[in-house]
């Protein structure tokens, strides 16, 4: 990969990675650190990374860095435990996307990551499996469960409203 291609990657993908990480960990500074770290690793390995594979490389690196940080901080369990619904009566939502993003925050970590990759970036099950180091079947299960969770969350909100 050339320097020019590297710079194009910064323009094209830094926002996407930043959003993906920020939605996962809700910490701007850490999200920025992870983006910088990911591009630094890309720069170091630029001779081994083809330009067409850059996006996947960056998301994989960023995701795994994020997981390492989360594990160190022990803030979020990586198991697939379902989160208990909280009360939403105090919230007023302007649109369905706000509700959805609030619901996404309550998903188990792994379900949140796969559904963000699926909806934000349009990745296939195979690509998500490569990024998250899962197999395709696991990715599909997590996505289906996440969708049902979101549906139940929205249904509950609509009932409350």
């Amino acid at each position: 990969m050339t320097v020019n291609e590297y710079n194009k990657s910064v323009e094209a993908y830094s926002d996407h990675i930043y959003r993906f990480i920020l939605k996962n960990i809700k910490n701007e500074n850490t999200a920025q650190d992870i983006v910088q770290d990911s591009f630094e690793k890309l720069w170091i390995n630029r001779k081994a990374v083809y330009f067409i594979k850059v996006k996947s490389y960056l998301f994989t690196t960023a995701y795994r860095t994020m997981i390492d940080i989360i594990r160190k901080q022990k803030r979020v369990s990586l198991t697939d435990d379902q989160t208990i619904f909280e009360s939403h009566e105090e919230n007023s939502f302007s649109d369905i996307q706000e509700i959805l993003h609030e619901a996404v925050e309550k998903l188990p970590e792994i379900q949140r990551s796969v559904i963000l990759l699926r909806d934000y970036e349009g990745y296939s099950y195979r690509e998500i499996a490569d990024i998250t180091n899962l197999n395709e079947s696991q990715v599909k299960v997590y996505i289906y469960r996440a969708r049902v969770y979101l549906k139940n969350y929205i249904g509950k909100i609509e009932n409350l409203v």
Binding site: V3, N7, S14, D15, H16, I17, K140, R145, V148, K151
Partner: protein, 337 residues
């Protein structure tokens, strides 16, 4: 079935016990038993050995049962169908099944919620530090590469020659050295004579005298090479080895002990370098490349001890070359003004 007799009655007995005999045959069997009372007892023994069905059951049936996709995902069948449709992961059979499920009014609301579940990225969230991530691109063209190469050749040349001259100077047996001693201070020992007092640095007359009479001087800690057509024959012999080693410079270079400093204005001429170079000969191109190369070299290394300044004629050809390094100073004249 054939008529019952003493040769085939067992088959009739078994069919009777299994309930496979028709009413007519049952009547025929009854008549046969009345005619043969001994066989009636045999039939009764057949009935005694009949096994009753067991009530034993296999307890691990659940392990053998295969889960449906919905069960595997721990969601309902309808939820599975809705998600599969949204994910474009639904087959024809499942489409029909979903269509059937949607005929039920209670499923329509749930289905409409599933249709809204696509997350959209917030475009306002941007990574603000892109500029720091990007790397500066240094474009290197052929001219610069050639320039640096030429500069490197010159630097290597002078480094090598500098060592050579230093070796000559510390050899007390050479006439070159003794001649220079006489000019500077005959009363001092060799190491002391090499060190020239700072007060002499700006003494123009003394330096001019050295220029006139010697081909090699040491001044202000700089070694200066010089060759002059007017030098005495015996002195020329002294430098024979040195002159032979740098034939291109023979009879053309002059002594200089003047500090030459390249200024930005010196390089302004090179803005037209590429435009004019086609009209120049190889010698002029070489020195222009070298001057540009050393300029780049200085920028890269931040080394101000190396300088190369050329003097150009109006037509762009090189009149004079001046090179200054930390230990050397060199001037080469091509066209005297």
């Amino acid at each position: 079935m054939e008529i019952i007799n003493r040769h085939n009655y067992e088959a009739f007995f078994l069919d009777f016990l299994d309930g496979n005999l028709s009413d007519d045959k049952k009547k025929e069997l009854t008549r046969f038993l009345q005619q043969n009372p001994s066989l009636k007892e045999e039939l009764e023994r057949f009935e005694e050995v009949t096994l009753e069905p067991s009530d034993i059951t296999y307890e691990n049936k659940q392990e053998l049962i295969k889960k449906t996709q919905a069960q595997h995902f721990e969601i309902t069948e309808f939820e599975y169908l809705c998600v599969a449709e949204n994910e474009s992961d639904i087959n024809e059979e499942e489409k029909l099944q979903l269509a059937f499920e949607l005929t039920k009014p209670e499923n329509k609301t749930e289905y409409s919620i599933f249709k809204k579940l696509k997350l959209q990225a917030d475009e306002h969230l941007i990574f603000s530090d892109k500029k720091n991530l990007q790397k500066k691109i240094i474009s290197i063209n052929y001219g610069i590469i050639t320039s640096v190469a030429a500069a490197a050749v010159i630097l290597l040349f002078f480094v090598f020659k500098g060592n050579f001259i230093n070796q000559k100077e510390i050899n007390p047996d050479t006439k070159l050295y003794s001649t220079r001693i006489e000019k500077k201070n005959t009363s001092k020992s060799l190491p002391e004579q090499i060190k020239v007092p700072e007060t002499e640095k700006n003494n123009t007359k003394q330096e001019q005298a050295l220029v006139t009479h010697n081909q090699t001087i040491k001044n202000s800690n700089k070694h200066v090479l010089a060759f002059d057509d007017n030098e005495p024959q015996n002195d020329k012999d002294l430098y024979k080895e040195l002159i032979v080693s740098i034939p291109d410079i023979k009879n053309e270079a002059l002594i200089s002990n003047t500090d030459l400093i390249m200024t930005p204005s010196n390089f302004a001429e090179f803005k037209n370098f590429n435009r004019n170079r086609s009209a120049l000969n190889n010698k002029d191109k070489f020195w222009k490349y070298a001057e540009k190369g050393i300029h780049v070299w200085k920028k890269i290394t931040k080394d101000d001890d190396i300088q190369l300044k050329n003097d150009y004629a109006d037509n762009g050809s090189v009149n004079e070359v001046n090179f200054i390094a930390s230990n050397f100073q060199f001037r080469k004249t091509y066209n005297k003004k």
